[in-house]
Assembly symmetry: C2
Homo-oligomer: 98 residues x 2
């Protein structure tokens, strides 16, 4: 399987409402994209210093599944509506034996 | 469950042998730490520009499981042996319904 992982830091100016809209946007998007096998996301728990603020881990049967998600209009719509709260982003896609 | 996610960028000076030693160190460590429920890791597939080079996703039953792993001597040993190849690191721990 392919696992897509992406972390975000929010801008200091991002309000709790904007961060909720970001998180809710992901929750509402996931069931609309058939290529997604598993979709987990959430805020950093605050256990360690220096962490990013938010992470998504998403599993796909193969690389085509991931690129279908990446380029899907529902995904692009969430990005367009919420990317103004993002200060930094880090991502990796890797293969694993799911 | 608690999912720990951590990404790495390797130094440009890191050799393929050093990166293999890093990856193999994680593979050999995981079965020695009972608190780990799932442990997946791998190199970025190179599909997107600007990605980090490597990622670990690790699941634990609860936060105590994660901190047991974080502070475990086998984990600290891998860090001590391989951290010289790391240029940058990004991490998030989050809660999900496993």
């Amino acid at each position: 399987m392919i696992r897509h992982t992406v972390m975000f830091r929010f801008k200091e100016s991002a309000s709790p409402e904007e961060i909720s809209a970001f998180s809710n946007g992901l929750t509402e998007m996931a069931p609309k994209i058939d290529a997604i096998v598993n979709y987990e996301h959430g805020s950093d728990l605050g256990v360690n210093e220096g962490n990013f603020d938010y992470v998504v881990t998403a599993d796909f049967a193969d690389l085509d599944g991931y690129t279908t998600y990446r380029d899907h209009p529902e995904h692009k719509d969430v990005i367009a509506r919420t990317s103004h709260v993002i200060a930094d982003r880090a991502a990796v896609q890797f293969e694993w034996q799911g």
